[in-house]
Assembly symmetry: D2
Homo-oligomer: 344 residues x 4
C-alpha cells in the first residue's frame, strides 16, 4: 500500500521529510503541501509530480488524496492542525513539540481518545537511533552485552551542538528545543515518568551570545529515583556530540563514538565527531518516518504518541520554571489514561 | 519512476534482495521470478502481489513487465543469463562472480560493448559500505581526516567469519567466495589493478574441517607496488570481523569497530563484534541496490561493472594457481577498453 | 643522598609505602617504625635490616636516625604527629586526611609557617597519575592535544569501586575517604578553590549495605563558576573505574581507558577495567613518594601541602553538611597565606 | 644489597642506563665507566660521585669495585667484552645484539656454559613492556581476557618510527636494529623458534632516503607454523607506533593504544601516538634493568639470555639473506643445550 501524505509546513524539516518520503523510504508519497508562505509551498510542490498546494492546513487535511498528515509547521500551530487531522480521521505525524503547553496536549489526547484509536505520532526520533536502541536492549538484558547491568541508578547525558545563532536562540530554547530530546528518551529508556527537575548554571562560555546561559546542566529525577544529569552545551564548537551512559547496579552501557574510520596522523589517532544533528541522526529520522508509514499502512500506531508529547510538555514546563526559580521543581502529570497504557 | 525487476534465482541472497526492493528501498518492485527450483519460485512469488513465475530465465528476461534483471542464480549460470539480458537490452545486476572464468567475463564485456552502453552492475557491495567509503575519502584527501596520509604503500586486511559448514566449503572457496571481496575493494580503493598474488598457509585452526587450509594469507601486489596482505579466516569463532588499514607515507586510515554502544561489566569494557555478514554489511547491500535502481531509472550505470567482474575473475584465478603452486603468480589482464575507462 | 624515613602506622598503607621505599624507589630507606599495635610494628621491622621499633610516635620522631617522617596512622592521630615532626624540624609526608577538621589543619599550618619553610606533603596521589597529568597539560595547552580546549566550564567525574565492606563503611566515608580525591584533584586541575557543594541521593543500589546511600552525586562549584559533578559509587561491582572529562569552551579532555591490550572473543571486543585502586593508581603512589624523597633530599617541598590538606578538610566538611541538610552549602576558607601561594 | 655496576660504552643508551640506575631504580650504583672516547667517559664520571674511569673495558671488568658489568658499547665490541666479564665471573647485561654473528654468540654460550651458571642478560626490553606482558598473559590464559584465544595461528605486527637519518641508516639496519625486537618478542610470546623468514619490498615511501627500501614486510614462520607478518616502516612520519595482534583459534589479543587521555577538538576525538621509542618503552627499560639488578643481587638470572641473543642473531642473518635473495630462507640453529632450557 502507498500512503499519500500531506505535509503542513515546508521549511527545513518539512522539506527534509519530503525528500525522505520521495527518495529514501518505501510505501509513501507526498500528494499535498501547505505552508504559511504560499510561495515556498508552490516551489516545493513544483518538483513533486502530482502534488497539490493548499491555501490552508484545513484544506490540505480535507483533501481526498491525503491519507495521512505530517505536521512540520511551527509549534504554536500544532494543536489546531493535529486536532483537525484527528477530526478528519487521518493519522498524523507531528514534529515536536506536540503542542507548547501540557494543557494543549491534554486537549489533543481528549480528542484522540474520543475517536477510540491511536492516531498521533510525535517526532521523538532518538527512539529510533541505533545507539539508543542498543542501549535500551542492553538495559533490558535483550542483547549480548546486556548481561549484568542490574537495575539502573543513574544516567549521564551530554548534548553538544557546535553553535547556535547569536540572535533568536534563547536560554529557554536550550530546554524546549534541545533538552526535550533527552526528556523523551529517558522516559522511554527507563519506562517511567520524570518526577522533578532542577537546572544548574555553570560558568558561561565566552562563545555564547551575551544574554545566553550556555551551558546548562539539567537534573531529572525519575519516579523510581534514577537520577539523570544532562549537560546542554549549544556552542561547544568542536562538533555535534550526543552522549549518554546508564549506570546500573552491576555495569554500565554508553553510546559509542560513531566514526567509521580511525586515522593516525601527526601524533594523534582517532575518529570523527559528527558535524551536525543531521550527520548524527539522519538514519534515526529515516527509521522513524518509515515506521510511521508502515504503521499507517497497517492501520496501527507504534511510535511515541500523544501521551509522550504531553509528558514532554509538562517536564519542559517544570524545567523552564526551575531555570527561572533556581529551585528543584516537581513535575505535575495527570494520571495516565488506560488508552495510552502502551505509550511509553 | 518505478523499476520493475525480474529476479533470477530466489535462494537466500535472491530472497534477501526481493525483501530489500519491496520493503526497504524506493523506486523498485519485483514483477517476475525464476528459479531452477520451480516450487521455491512459486512460494516466493505467492507473497509478491502481481509477480509472475517464469519457467526459464529466458522467459523472465523476455517478460514485457520486466524492466531490469537481477541475477542471483549460481555462478555457472551467470554468463548465459547476463548475456541474455544484454541481448534483450535490459540492465542487469549480477551477484558475484560475474562469471567463473575471465574468458566468460570477456564474452560478457564484448556483448556489452557491442550495445554501446553500460548495462551490467556486479554485486561488489563493499564499495557501498560506509567504512570503506570513509576510508577512500580519507585516502583521497576529501575528508576532514584525510589530511596527510600521503601516497598509499601498504594495506593490511583481515576477513574473519565465525564458521563455515564442515562439508561443502573448500579451501578454494576461501579465495573465490571470500577473498574476492578484498580483491575488488582494493582495486577500487587504490584505483589500479592487481599485478601479482601469493598465498601463504599459516598454522591450521583445529576448528576447520580436516581437509581445509584455514586461515590463509593472501599477498596482493598492486600495479604501483602497494602491497596488500589479507588474512582470510573462515572459522574464527568469535564473530564476523572485517578489518583494514591503509598505510600511507604520512599516516594511516583503518576501518573502525562498529559497535553502537560500549558496555562495562565484569572487569571489561568494550563493544560488540558483528554476528555475521548480514549484521555487518546490511546497509551496504541496501545502498548498493538503491544505487542500481536509481541508475536504471536514470538510464545510467554508476556501480562496479563488467570490467570489475573480469578483473576479479582474473585475480581469483591467479590466487587459486598460487594456492596450488605455492608460488607468486602474476595476474594477466587484457588491456582495459576505453569503454570501461570509468569502471574502476 | 639517602633519606632515612621513620614510618608511623604500619597497617596496609604504611606497609605498602615501606615496600615502595625499600623495593621500588631510589634514595630512601626505612630506619624506624611505630604502630599502636606494637606486635605488628615488631613484625614489620623484623624484615627491615637495621630498623628500630619505637614505642611512641614521639620517640620515632626524635630518633637521630630518622631524617623524615611518614605518617600513615589513623586520621585522628595525624595532627599531633605532624605537629611533633614540624616541631622536630623534620619533613613529614602525611597520608590523607592531613587532619579530620579544618581547625586542626589550621593549627598545622600555623606551626609550619612559624618555622619559615614548607615541611608537609599530603598524600593526594592523583596529582601524580599520568592520566590526570596529561589532562592538566591538555587544559594548560602544554601538550599536543591541548590545542583549543578554551576556558574550562564543566567537569564530569565518576569514582567507582567494586565494593566496600557491609559493616564499617558509612555514607559519610564516601565523602571523606573517596570524594576527597576528586576534591583535591579538581582544585589542582583548575588552580582555584571550591566555593560551594551539594550532595544528591540517586536511587540506591541493592548491592549496598542497608543503611548506606550508594551511589551519591556531588556537585562542586569552583570559584570561577566551573561546575563539577562527581558520581561516587562504592559498590559498582564491575571494577575500579575512575573517570573524568573536562569540558572547555572549544573542546574536551577525558581520562582514557587504561587497558594494555584489546581482546576479541565471543562477539565482543574490548579491554580490561582495573580490579582495584592499587591496580589503577600504583604508579601514582610510586611517583608521589619518589617526588617526596627527592624533595626532602633537596631540602625543598613540591607536592600538595598543608593548605591543600586544609582546603580538602573544609570542602569535605561542607559536603558532609550538604549530605545531612540536602542543601547547597558554601565552603568557608580562611584567606590563603602568602606562605602557601604556590601550594595549589 | 647494592649492586655496583661498571658501564662500558657511555653513548646515548649507556648514559640513559646510568641515569636509570642512579635516579630511578633501587639496589644499584654506577662505580666505574669506560668508553672508546675517553673524554666522554670522563665527563660522564664527573657527575657520578665516587665512580672511576677506566682506560680499557678489561680494566673496568677487573675493578674490585665492580660487581656486574653493563655493556653498551657498539656491537662489534660486545663479544670480547662479554667474554671478559664471564671470564672474570661477573654477571653482564649486554645491549642487543649480543654479538653480530651467531658464531660469536655461540662462543659466548660456550664460555658461559663452561662456568656452570647463567651470567648473561641481553637487552631485549620488550619482554618487560606491560602491553606485551598482558598479551602473553592473555595468550597463556592467565588473565581475565585470556579466555578462549585457543592456539595461536597468526600474528600481525607493525613497527613504525617517525623517521631515521638520511645518512647512515641502511635497509639492512631495518632488520638488524628494528626487526630484531619483533624477532625476539615473538620467540618469547610463542615459546618456540623461528624456522624461516622472507622479506617483501612494498612500494617505497618518498620520505625515505634514496637508497633505502622503506617500508619492508617480514614474514616469519614459527616452528609450529604460526605465521608472523611484520611491517617495518622507519619513516612513517606520524609517530612511533608499535602494534601487534595475535590471532588464535577462537579469539585475538592486540596491543592497545597507550594514550592517557582522549581529546575532542575540531570534529575529531582521539588520543596521542607516542613521539619516539623512549616515550613508548621507557617503563620497559626501567623494568628490564631493575629485574637484572634484582637477579644479580639474588645470584640468579631471569631475563633473556645468551641463547636468545644467539637465536636472534641467526634469524637476523636469515632475514638479511632473504632481503638480498628475495627468497624464503630457512633459519639454521644449533640444538638448544639443556643449560638454556629455560631460556625462552
Amino acid at each position: 500500500m502507498n500512503v499519500r501524505v500531506g505535509v503542513i509546513g515546508v521549511g527545513m524539516i518539512g522539506q527534509d521529510h519530503i525528500r525522505r518520503i520521495t527518495q529514501v523510504l518505501t510505501g509513501g508519497s507526498v500528494t499535498a503541501v501547505n505552508d504559511v508562505d504560499a510561495a515556498r509551498a508552490g516551489q516545493v510542490a513544483a518538483v513533486l509530480p502530482g502534488a497539490s498546494v493548499h491555501a490552508t492546513a484545513q484544506d490540505l487535511i480535507a483533501d481526498g488524496n491525503v491519507d495521512a498528515v505530517l505536521v512540520a509547521s511551527w509549534g504554536p500551530a500544532h494543536e489546531e492542525q493535529v486536532l483537525a487531522a484527528i477530526g478528519a480521521g487521518k493519522p498524523v505525524f507531528c514534529e515536536k513539540p506536540l503542542a507548547p503547553s501540557s494543557a494543549a496536549c491534554q486537549r489533543i489526547m481528549d480528542a484522540e481518545m474520543a475517536t477510540g484509536r491511536r492516531m498521533v505520532q510525535v517526532g521523538f526520533m532518538r527512539r529510533y537511533d541505533a545507539g539508543y536502541r542498543a542501549m535500551k536492549a542492553a538495559l533490558d538484558g535483550a542483547s549480548l552485552e546486556g548481561d549484568g547491568l542490574g537495575a539502573p541508578l543513574l544516567m549521564h547525558c551530554a548534548h553538544r551542538n557546535p553553535s547556535v545563532p547569536d540572535y533568536g536562540f534563547t536560554t529557554d530554547m536550550i530546554i524546549s528545543d534541545s533538552a526535550v530530546h533527552e526528556i523523551d528518551v529517558v522516559r522511554w529508556l527507563f519506562g517511567e515518568e520524570i518526577a522533578a527537575a532542577s537546572v544548574l548554571r555553570p560558568r558561561r562560555s565566552g562563545r555564547a551570545a551575551a544574554d545566553m546561559q550556555d551551558p546548562l546542566v539539567l537534573l531529572l529525577e525519575m519516579a523510581s529515583g534514577v537520577l539523570v544529569d544532562d549537560e546542554l552545551f549549544l556552542n561547544a564548537q568542536y562538533g555535534y556530540d550526543v552522549r549518554g551512559e546508564i549506570v546500573g547496579e552491576t555495569g554500565t552501557v554508553a553510546l559509542a563514538d560513531v566514526s567509521e574510520v580511525t586515522v593516525r596522523t601527526a601524533n594523534r589517532h582517532g575518529g570523527r565527531v559528527p558535524v551536525d544533528w543531521r550527520d548524527r541522526f539522519i538514519r534515526a529520522y529515516d527509521a522513524e518516518l518509515q515506521d510511521w508509514l508502515n504503521a499507517v499502512a497497517a492501520g496501527t500506531s507504534t511510535g511515541p504518541g500523544s501521551w509522550d508529547g504531553y509528558a514532554a510538555a509538562a517536564v519542559t514546563g517544570s524545567c523552564l520554571e526551575a531555570l527561572r526559580s533556581g529551585q528543584r521543581t516537581p513535575v505535575t502529570l495527570a494520571e495516565r489514561p488506560e488508552f495510552y497504557a502502551k505509550a511509553l
